[in-house]
Every structure is written in C-alpha cells, then in structure tokens.
C-alpha cells in the first residue's frame, strides 16, 4: 500500500523577485526567475546547488543549466496559473517516495515588459499550432485572450444561478481593500497607481467594458512577477532559518483545455482537486481559516469558492458579501495579498497564492516589506487553489501552520 503523503513535506520558504508589478525599465522571465530563486535560497539558508529538484513551467531545464546545477528531479509542468500548486503536489510525492529531500518551485514572467520588448524575453513562446482544434474552431471568432473567454462563464452563472454584476463587483471591492494593506500591491494607493486605493461597487460597474459582463475592474492586472518556494521533507523541514508550513493535502484535476469542451460553464475541476486535497488532509472546507484562490476575474474566484465548498453552489459571491472576506471581516479572509485583481498578476498567478499563503501561515505577512498592520491574519490553515487555462485545470493545496 502506498502511504498517504500528507505532512511528508513542507514549504520552508517563499520569496519574490527584487521588483514586481509594472517594471518600467523592463525585465525578462529569466531575470524574474533567477532573482526569486536566489532570494528564496538566501531566505531559507541554502545554496542553489543544494537543490535536488527543480520545477518551473516550461523552464525547469533551462533554469538548471543557467544556474549550473544538476537536479535529479525536473518538472516543467506548464498548464497555466495552477502549475505551481501541481508542482508542489508533485514535489511532495517525490519527497514521500524518497527520490529527493528538497526542491524549488519557481515562477518568472514578464507579462508587462513583454509588450515593450515585443514578445522577447518571455521564454520563447511562439505562435500556436494552426492545426490545434482551438486554432481552427475558436480563434476565427475574434476572441482575444482570457477575458473574452471567461465572460461566457459569468453570463451562464448569472443565467443559471441568478447572480448579478453587483454580486461579482463586491469581490473586486473587497480584494482591493486587502491591496490597500500591501505596499507592494500595484493598486495599493493613489501613490502606486493613478487608479489605486479603495473602490466601490459603482466604480467597478462604471469601469470600461472589456467583454460583457466583465468590466475592467472585474479583470486581473498584467504585470511582471517572479516568485519561488522551497519544498523540503518532514525530516529536514525544521532545519532551515525559516519555519515550515505543512502540506496537509494536495490534488489536481482537469475538465478541459479549450473552453469549447467546458461542460458546465459554472463549474471547474476545483471540485475534484479540492476533494482530493481535503481527503488527503483529513480536513474539510469548514476547517479552512484562509482561502487563497485564483482571481483572474471576479467570476473565477466566485466559482472556485463554490467548488471548494466555501459557499453553497451558485452562491460563490456570498463569500465576499458586504466585505466579509476583507480586512477585519466576519468571514474567512480571502486573497489577503490583494489578489490578481489588485496586487500583481503576470499571467500565471499561482505562485503569488503560494507565497502569500506561506507568509500568512508562517506569521510573516507583516515583515515590514510585504505588509502593513492588519494584513497578518490569525489563520492556521489555508486552502490554496490555482486555476489554469480557460477555467480548465486546477491544483489545490491544504496548508497548515507549524505547531
């Protein structure tokens, strides 16, 4: 019988690249990756050569070469924003199997700078295959990126469950409130961005339409960002400078790749990946004290809340209702970094979820750089869910603080 890998590994450190957000002088994926890996190694107290396993979407092999290291476990899983949750899952499984003791999971993505760099420095991502089904049967119809796809899910949610644009707007408002407590958030204040600082439901509804029913403030940012976490075995987890945050549960699943194959537009595979993670952890949604869930769009966060059992079906927006998921709110805190909506989002946001979950559960969410008073919560457990593609793929982790 294989053993349950729950608690066999921990995240023992989490860091960002030196600069994040709108980096006006420009940057590249590689700079962001390497800065984040260097920073997390320094924080944890290891050298990059101590790393036995490396995971990074489409980049693990190149990063190993660039660092001059020879890891014995390589994971290039690249399925969008949940790649990092899945890579932590994979790293835990490799550790539990005795293959490695320590791995880095890394992210670097110049989503903002790629515009000025005319696509260069983005990891060599080329044009899609013209013979891919999505090229033949989706792209002729004028959609342009994630918002133009995700909007169809919001329309269906409003039709099927009676939700309203106001319900979804509350998610953007509450998430912005968290950003006002995070000095590194792009939308922290008028000083960090002309449109920064608190917003109202009316502000969201009055912002320009991108893809009805999604307005601009229903949509995430497109920034530069790098991040990395170190995953280590239970035996070694308490031997570093920084405290462990335990991986109690992990799961992953996929419902489709192209939205053309999405069965129920108001459901995602987070139901399955969440179940797997809860089962491994021996815990359930009512025991989660923090939720870090991918908010590429307000509708993404709402549907995910339902899938993870944090609200009844069809009532995802109620998690944020009246600001109760916000600072000092009556519900569980959600997306305490300010989310992809208002903190930072480079394209694959899953790493930012992990870094903030680590900070919250290790008690370092107000370390003087990354948060001001009020951002640190008392949470000892967290559910962390990444979503990739077009509501396509999910990775869920259940994390718990060290005793």
């Amino acid at each position: 019988m294989p053993s349950n890998p729950s608690m066999s590994a921990a995240i023992v450190g989490a860091a960002e690249s030196n600069k994040i957000g709108y980096i006006e002088e420009g940057t590249t994926n590689n700079i962001l990756f390497i800065e984040a890996i260097k920073n997390v190694c320094d924080q944890v107290g290891i050298r990059p050569s101590d790393i036995e396993g490396i995971a990074a979407p489409n980049a693990a092999n190149f990063l190993a070469e660039y660092l001059g290291i020879h890891p014995k476990w390589i994971d290039t899983t690249s399925v969008g924003g949940c790649s990092f949750q899945m890579q932590v899952h994979h790293a835990m499984a490799a550790i539990n199997a005795g293959i490695i003791d320590i791995a880095v999971v890394a992210h670097g993505e110049s989503g903002y700078s790629a515009r000025k760099n005319r696509g260069r420095g983005r990891g060599g991502r080329g044009a899609g295959d013209p013979w891919a089904p999505s090229s033949m049967f989706d792209e002729p119809y004028g959609t342009s990126g994630a918002p133009s796809n995700y909007s169809h899910a919001m329309t269906r949610h409003m039709h099927r469950w009676g939700s309203t644009k106001e319900d979804f707007a509350q998610i953007a408002v509450t998430t912005r409130d968290w950003a006002t407590l995070n000095p590194r958030a792009v939308m922290h204040s008028r000083e960090t961005h002309p449109a920064g600082g608190p917003v109202t439901i009316q502000d969201v509804l009055d912002s320009r339409l991108i893809s009805w029913p999604l307005n601009l403030l229903d949509c995430c940012l497109v920034t530069d960002h790098g991040g990395a976490v170190i995953v280590a075995s239970a035996e070694r987890a308490r031997s570093f400078r920084t405290p462990p945050v335990w991986i109690a549960g992990a799961g992953e699943n996929i419902s489709h790749s192209s939205m053309l194959e999405m069965g129920d537009f108001t459901a995602t595979s987070a139901y399955a990946s969440g179940h797997a993670a809860y089962r491994m952890a021996g815990m359930g949604p009512s025991e989660m004290e923090l939720a870090m869930i991918y908010d590429s769009f307000t509708v993404t966060a709402a549907i995910t809340a339902e899938m993870l059992g944090l609200t009844p079906r069809g009532e995802g927006p109620s998690l944020w209702e009246g600001g109760k998921a916000g600072p000092g709110g009556a519900g569980i805190p959600v997306n305490t970094n300010g989310g992809g909506l208002s903190f930072s989002h480079s394209g694959m946001y899953g790493m930012m979820l992990l870094v903030e979950a680590y900070r919250q559960l290790s008690g370092t969410a107000e370390d003087g750089v990354h948060g001001i008073e009020g951002k640190q919560t008392s949470a000892k457990t967290a559910v962390v869910n990444g979503t990739g593609g077009s509501l396509s793929v999910t990775g869920t982790l259940v994390l718990v603080a060290d005793d």
């Binding site: 002729p140 133009s148 909007s151 329309t155 893809s211 053309l260």
Partner: protein, 139 residues
C-alpha cells in the same frame, strides 16, 4: 465579395477534411461515433464519450440554441472594426457544442439576448478553400 479581413482557419486535412468540404457546400458536417451514436465537436479520431475509433461523418441539421454568450468590446485585426460583437457557445441539436460569432443580435443590448434562443448555421466564404460557419438568431 470584399476580401475577408479576419483570421481564416488553416484546416488540418488529416482529421477535419469532411467538415471543411461540407462547409464549402453550405452544409454542417459533423463526426459521429457508430458505436454509441453520439455526435461530437471538435472533430476527433476517437469518440470522446465511449473511446471507439469507429467515427463517421454526417450532415447535421444546422440547428441549435444559445448556451451562453458574451459581448466583445476589445478585439484585434479585422474584428476590431466590429466591436461590440457577440460571441456564443451553441448547443447543437445533435449534441455537443460549437463556438461562434452570433449574428442577428445587438451587442449594445446584451440584456435582450437570451440563453436558450434557437439559432441556425450559415457559412461565409473566407477564401476559395475555407468557408466559416456562423450562427444566426432567427429574425
């Protein structure tokens, strides 16, 4: 005919040929599994429902219903001239779904577009080789 100024699909001849051949004749030709009798879309060499590889092509009715929709206010290339335009997923009468730009609706009045409304397919000649299916709300 004015030159078609929007993205034109580059058909994969190995797995989708009959679909595009049908389109040139104004017919919606879909794949169907001869074991479980279910139609599917996009075309595959294996049935996504029962995993049989016994796939045949047949002429579908060209009828369906709006499953969900959105109004695109931002687009590129030739589509940029058309905003706000309506995109939709169509539930096919024979089962499964297609994506389209929906015709016969007003993108400035999304509240007047109803999920479940019947639609019919039509084809636009984009090049000598490629005719693209679009769906229209019956007037």
């Amino acid at each position: 005919m004015a030159d078609y100024n929007k993205p034109i699909p580059d058909p994969d001849p190995y797995t989708t040929g009959p679909f595009w051949d049908g389109a040139k004749q104004g017919k919606l030709v879909l794949p169907r599994c001869t074991d479980c009798n279910r139609a599917h879309f996009y075309p595959r060499i294996i049935c996504p429902f029962c995993h049989s590889t016994a796939i045949e092509w047949f002429e579908a009715s060209g009828e369906g219903w709006i499953h969900t929709f959105a109004v695109q206010h931002r687009a590129f290339g030739g589509w940029a001239d058309e905003v706000p335009f309506v995109t939709a997923y169509i539930d096919l009468k024979e089962g499964d779904r297609m994506f389209t730009v929906l015709r016969g609706v007003d993108g400035n009045k999304p509240e007047e577009i109803k999920i479940g409304t019947p639609v019919k397919v039509e084809f636009e000649k984009a090049s000598d080789e490629v005719h693209i299916p679009f769906w229209r709300v019956a007037g």
